[in-house]
C-alpha cells in the first residue's frame, strides 16, 4: 500500500514537473523539435544582488497595491508585449517568478516560437491600397502574435528610427523596412545600423537617396546629422551609466562637431533606391551603391582618418568608426533608451551602467541587453511596476488583447491616427514622443481621444470589438459584482484602486445587461488605473 502511494506521489511529481516545463500559451503549443534546447530550457537567470541592486529595491517607494504574482505577470506582459490575454495570465499567475523568467527566455528567441496562427489572421496586402494594409497588418500582428517581445521591440525600433511614409511614399519600401526592423529587433545593433543606412525607406526619409558626393554643391547632411544625433550617439558624450561627460566648467561635451556631420555625410554618399513599374505591382529590390555618386576622397571623422578609395565598403567602415570612437556613449545612449521604453523613464544610472556594460561587452548584442533589462531585480521593483504612461498603441492593442477581441486593424488605424500615433507616420524625426517624455502624450486634448476610442471600442459597432454576450456567458456574470470583478481583472490585471470598484458597481444599476457591460468596459478604460502601464 505504502509502495503504491510512493509511486503515485512520484508519478504525480513527475507529471507536475512536465506540466510546468513548457509554457503552452493561450492557443498554440510550442513546437519542441527545432529550437536550441540549451538556450530555452536554461535555469532561471540568477540575479546578482549587488549593493546597488539591493539599495535600488529597498529604496523603491511601496506602491499602494502589493506586488502580487498577478500584478507582476500583468506588468511583464504589458512591458514586453502589448498586454495580457486571459490565457497568458492563467499560465503566469500561479507560477510566480520562475514562470516569468521562463516566459522571458521563451520570448527572447522568437525564431523558435511558432506563429502560424497569428500569420493566418493577417489581412492580405492589396497593392492598390497604398500603405494602409501594411499598417493594418502590423496592428493585427501586435494583437495576435505569440512573438510579443519581438513585436514590442519592432515598435521600439520604429520609434527610434522614426521613418514616415508621408515622405517615403512607396509602401514597397515600407514592407522591406518593417522586415528590417523585425529581423534586427533582437539582433546585433552594429549590423542594424548598417542595414538601416542602406535601407530604401530610410534613404528616402532622410535624403541620402542619390545623395551626390561628387557634385560642386555639398551633399545633403540630413541623414548624417540624424544618424549621429538620434540613432547612434545622441548630442553629448556619455559615461557608461548614461550621465553626461562634463568639461572643466561643468558643461556637457558635444559628441560630434559640425565637421563630423559633414564628413560623415560625404562618407555615406553613393546609395540610391531602385524603382520598377508597373507601380505598385513589382518589387523594386534593395538599394544600390553607385560609385559615381560616392565621394571617394580621404576624410577625417571624430579625429580618425578614413582612407581614400574605399568605395562601397566605406559605409560600414564609417559606421564602425563612430562605434569605435564613441563606444561608451553609444552603449549608454541606446541602453538608456531601451530602459526608458521597457522599464522606467528615469532609470537609475546603476541600472543603465549594468545594461550598457553588457551591450558593449557583447559587441552590441541587443538580445543580451534586453535579457539583462528584463531579468534585473530592478525590473520588478515597486518604482518600476505600473508607473509608466501607456502610449496609444499600447493602450488600444492592450484593450483588444485583454478582451479576446476580433480585429483586422481598420479601427485601430483610425484610433491611432486620431491619437497622434499612427505607425509609419511619426510627426517628425523626433518620433511620437522623446524617450523619457511619455508624459507629453497626455494633455487635455489627448485624454479626450483616449476616452473616445474607449467609447467606440466598447460600443461594439466597429470592426474591432469584443463579444459582450460571450463574456457574460463564459464568465458567469450574473451580478454586477461579478461583472466588475471579471472585467477589472481582465483589463487591469490588478485590483482596482480604492473607491473605484463601488463606483463601477453603482454604474451597473443593479443588473448585467449588454449595454451596461459595454459601459462598464468604457469606464474602466477611462479610469486612472487603466492609464498605468
Amino acid at each position: 500500500m505504502k509502495k503504491r502511494m510512493v509511486i503515485a506521489t512520484v508519478l504525480l511529481l513527475i507529471c507536475s514537473l512536465v506540466a510546468t516545463a513548457v509554457p503552452d500559451g493561450p492557443r498554440i503549443k510550442m513546437q519542441r523539435g527545432t529550437r536550441d534546447r540549451t538556450q530555452r530550457m536554461a535555469a532561471p537567470t540568477r540575479v546578482e544582488f549587488t549593493e546597488e541592486t539591493v539599495a535600488l529595491v529597498e529604496s523603491a517607494p511601496v506602491d499602494a497595491v502589493a506586488l502580487s504574482s498577478q500584478v507582476l505577470a500583468g506588468h511583464l506582459l504589458r512591458r514586453i508585449g502589448f498586454g495580457p490575454t486571459q490565457g497568458d495570465m492563467r499560465w503566469l499567475t500561479p507560477r510566480g517568478r520562475t514562470g516569468r523568467v521562463r516566459w522571458i527566455n521563451w520570448q527572447l528567441w522568437p525564431e523558435y516560437i511558432d506563429d502560424s496562427y497569428a500569420e493566418s489572421l493577417l489581412p492580405a496586402i492589396n497593392p492598390d491600397n497604398g500603405d494602409t494594409d501594411y499598417i493594418r497588418r502590423w496592428y493585427v500582428r501586435m494583437t495576435y502574435s505569440q512573438r510579443q517581445l519581438q513585436e514590442k521591440m519592432t515598435l521600439i525600433w520604429h520609434e527610434h528610427f522614426s521613418v514616415s511614409d508621408e515622405k517615403v511614399g512607396d509602401q514597397r519600401y515600407l514592407g522591406a523596412h518593417e522586415d528590417l526592423l523585425r529581423r534586427n529587433s533582437l539582433g546585433n545593433f552594429r549590423n542594424f545600423l548598417v542595414d538601416v543606412t542602406v535601407d530604401s525607406a530610410m534613404l528616402r526619409w532622410l535624403d541620402n537617396d542619390y545623395n551626390n558626393g561628387n557634385d560642386v554643391k555639398p551633399p545633403n547632411e540630413n541623414f548624417s546629422r540624424e544618424f549621429l544625433q538620434l540613432f547612434a550617439t545622441g548630442t553629448t558624450l556619455l559615461n557608461l551609466d548614461g550621465t553626461p561627460v562634463r568639461d572643466a566648467s561643468g558643461n556637457p561635451v558635444p559628441s560630434y562637431t559640425e565637421t563630423d556631420v559633414r564628413e560623415l555625410a560625404r562618407s555615406l554618399t553613393g546609395w540610391h533606391t531602385n524603382y520598377c513599374d508597373p507601380y505598385p505591382y513589382c518589387d523594386p529590390g534593395p538599394a544600390t551603391f553607385e560609385p559615381g555618386y560616392h565621394d571617394d576622397r580621404a576624410k577625417t571623422i571624430m579625429g580618425e582618418d578614413v582612407p581614400a578609395g574605399m568605395g562601397e565598403d566605406e559605409t560600414a567602415y564609417a559606421i564602425d568608426l563612430v562605434l569605435r570612437q564613441r563606444t561608451d556613449t553609444v552603449a549608454a545612449f541606446i541602453s538608456k533608451i531601451l530602459l526608458q521604453k521597457l522599464v522606467s523613464e528615469n532609470p537609475p544610472p546603476a541600472y543603465v551602467y549594468r545594461v550598457a556594460r553588457r551591450f558593449k561587452n557583447t559587441n552590441w548584442n541587443i538580445r543580451e541587453a534586453v535579457k539583462l533589462i528584463l531579468t534585473d531585480a530592478a525590473f520588478e521593483s515597486g518604482a518600476m511596476v505600473r508607473t509608466m504612461y501607456k502610449e496609444p498603441v499600447e493602450q488600444y492593442v492592450g484593450a483588444v488583447r485583454a478582451l479576446n477581441s476580433w480585429t483586422q486593424g481598420d479601427a485601430l488605424y483610425n484610433w491611432t491616427y486620431e491619437a497622434g500615433q499612427l505607425v509609419y507616420y511619426p510627426p517628425s524625426v523626433f518620433s511620437f514622443y522623446r524617450p523619457g517624455n511619455k508624459a507629453s502624450l497626455v494633455n487635455t486634448s489627448r485624454v479626450f481621444f483616449r476616452d473616445k476610442m474607449a467609447d467606440e471600442y466598447s460600443s461594439g459597432w466597429w470592426d474591432t470589438a469584443f463579444d459582450a454576450p460571450a463574456h457574460i456567458r463564459q464568465g458567469g456574470l450574473t451580478t454586477p459584482d461579478r461583472a466588475v470583478t471579471y472585467f477589472v481583472s481582465r483589463l487591469l490585471a490588478a485590483p482596482a484602486s480604492t473607491g473605484v470598484r463601488s463606483e463601477l458597481i453603482r454604474y451597473m444599476g443593479g443588473q448585467v445587461t449588454e449595454e451596461k457591460v459595454r459601459g462598464l468596459v468604457w469606464l474602466i478604460m477611462c479610469s486612472p488605473d487603466f492609464q498605468r502601464n
Binding site: 545633403n220 548630442t235 517628425s428 489627448r446 479626450f448 486612472p528
Partner: protein, 428 residues
C-alpha cells in the same frame, strides 16, 4: 468641497499629497459672458516648425544682393518677375505664393523683421530640438539647473489673475508649443480641435457621463501616472463645457482654407470670439525642414516650401480678416517664429540645409507695417554659409511684451538676469 480652480490651473497638478479635489460641474454658463475685462490683448504665435527658409520667403532684390542670391541658388532662386512687390520697398519682395501677406503689407498691417535668430553662442545651433526649445523658453545655455523649463509667454501668463468662473486657462495650445505657454506655475490647455474637445458617449450617455464624473472625483493615490491622467480629465471636462457653450454662437465671416492650419486659425478665432479668458494662443505648422524639393524657382510647379508659405499666408490672412469683420481685430497681435533659417546655398537635392537667421512676421491693428532690421548681407555669409543675425530673437519678444502688452520684458525674457536689456524694436 468646491472645485478649487486656483490649484487646478497651477501646473495641472494638486501638488501636496492628500489634497482632495472634489469637482462639481459648474452650472451651465449663460449665453451672456459677464466677465469684467472683455478687451484684453491676445498674442497669437504661429510656429513654423522645421526651420523656415527666410531667404526664399522675403527675397532681397537690390541688384548686388539679387545677383548673389541667384549665384547661391541657381535652381531654387525665384525669378524676379514672379516675386510679389512690397509697396515702398524697392529692395525686397515676397515669395510668389504669399498674396495675402502682400496685401496686408501694402495696407500697412504687416511687419517683416529681418535676420532673426538666437545668438551664435547659443547651445545646439542647427539642431531642431534645441532651436525650438530656445525660441520657446529663451534659455540659450540650457540652464536646466535653474529649475523646470518654462516658456516666455508662459512666464508672462503667470502674472495673469486666476481664471474666473466662465474662463479657461489663459494659455491655449492648438499645436504651436506647449512649453511656450507653460509658466512656472501654470499650464496651457491643449486643444486639437474645438469640435473634438469634448467627451464622446455614443450610448447610455447620461448614466455614463455621471459615472465618469464621479469616478474622476475619486483621488488616485497609487501612482503619479494615474493621478495626472485623472486631473487632466477633470481639467478637460471643465474647460470643454466652458468653451463649447461660449463658442456655440460663432459663425465664420470668411472662408477659411481647408488646410490643417486653416482649421487651427478658425479655432483660434472661435476662442477669441468666445471671450473665455485666453491671452496667448499658439498654432503650429510643420514640414519646414526643406532639405529637398523645396521649390522650383523659375517654373510654375509648386515645391514643398511654396505650398507651406501659401498655407501660412492664406490661413493667417483669413483669420485676421475674420477678426476684422467680427470687430475683434484690435484684440490680437500675430507673430511667426521658427527655430532657425536655412543655408544661403542650395544643396544637390533641390533643398537647403539648416542655417542661422530667418525672417519673422508680425501682424495686427497695432503693428506699424514695414521692414525692420538690416537684411543679412549675402556676400558675408556666416557659420558655413548661413545668413547672419540682425535682431536677437529676444528683442522681437521684448517688442511684444513692452510695446503691445505693456509689461517690463526683461524679467520675463531673462529671469536669471544673465544678459543686458533687450531693446524693443519699433514694429508695434
Amino acid at each position: 468641497m468646491q472645485f478649487n480652480r486656483r490649484d487646478f490651473f497651477r501646473t495641472g497638478m494638486i501638488a501636496a499629497a492628500g489634497l482632495v479635489a472634489n469637482y462639481t460641474l459648474p452650472g451651465k454658463a449663460g449665453a451672456q459672458n459677464v466677465r469684467m475685462q472683455a478687451d484684453e490683448k491676445v498674442v497669437v504665435i504661429v510656429n513654423l516648425l522645421g526651420g523656415n527658409d527666410g531667404l526664399n520667403t522675403v527675397v532681397p532684390i537690390s541688384s548686388s544682393q539679387y545677383d548673389k542670391y541667384r549665384e547661391l541658388r541657381n535652381t531654387l532662386a525665384y525669378d524676379q518677375a514672379n516675386l510679389l512687390s512690397l509697396s515702398g520697398q524697392p529692395d525686397f519682395a515676397l515669395a510668389p505664393q504669399m498674396g495675402e501677406f502682400q496685401n496686408l503689407f501694402n495696407s500697412g498691417r504687416l511687419a517683416i523683421i529681418n535676420g532673426v535668430s538666437v545668438p551664435d553662442d547659443a547651445v545646439g545651433l542647427f539642431d531642431h530640438e534645441a532651436g525650438q526649445y530656445e525660441f520657446q523658453t529663451c534659455d540659450i545655455i540650457r540652464n536646466l539647473s535653474a529649475g523646470p523649463s518654462s516658456g516666455w509667454l508662459g512666464r508672462y501668463l503667470d502674472s495673469m489673475p486666476d481664471p474666473g468662473p466662465d474662463e479657461i486657462s489663459p494659455g491655449v495650445d492648438l499645436g504651436g508649443g506647449r512649453l511656450l505657454l507653460s509658466g512656472r506655475n501654470r499650464v496651457p490647455v491643449s486643444i486639437n480641435s474645438i469640435d473634438n474637445f469634448q467627451l464622446q458617449v455614443s450610448y447610455d450617455p447620461d448614466a455614463r457621463k455621471a459615472a465618469y464624473d464621479r469616478l474622476m472625483n475619486i483621488p488616485h493615490t497609487a501612482s503619479t501616472v494615474g493621478e495626472r491622467n485623472r486631473q487632466m480629465r477633470l481639467l478637460a471636462r471643465y474647460q470643454s463645457d466652458i468653451i463649447l457653450s461660449a463658442t456655440a454662437g460663432y459663425q465664420p465671416t470668411v472662408n477659411y482654407p481647408a488646410t490643417y492650419l486653416g482649421g487651427q486659425m478658425k479655432d483660434c478665432a472661435k476662442i477669441i470670439y468666445g471671450n473665455v479668458g485666453a491671452r496667448a494662443v499658439a498654432v503650429g505648422i510643420g514640414s519646414f525642414d526643406t532639405h529637398s524639393y523645396q521649390n522650383y524657382g523659375s517654373g510654375s510647379e509648386l515645391g514643398i516650401h511654396d505650398t507651406l508659405l501659401k498655407t501660412v499666408s492664406d490661413a493667417v490672412g483669413a483669420f485676421y480678416q475674420d477678426l476684422i469683420n467680427l470687430g475683434l481685430s484690435h484684440r490680437v497681435l500675430i507673430l511667426t517664429i521658427s527655430e532657425f533659417g536655412r543655408r544661403g546655398y542650395e544643396n544637390n537635392d533641390l533643398g537647403t540645409d539648416h542655417g542661422f537667421s530667418s525672417v519673422a512676421f508680425a501682424l495686427g491693428d497695432d503693428v506699424k507695417g514695414g521692414i525692420y532690421g538690416d537684411y543679412p548681407d549675402l556676400n558675408s555669409l556666416v557659420l558655413d554659409g548661413s545668413l547672419g543675425m540682425s535682431n536677437d530673437f529676444r528683442s522681437v519678444y521684448a517688442t511684444v511684451l513692452a510695446n503691445y502688452l505693456g509689461v517690463d520684458p526683461q524679467p520675463i525674457l531673462d529671469p536669471n538676469d544673465l544678459y543686458p536689456d533687450f531693446q524693443p524694436l519699433d514694429f508695434v
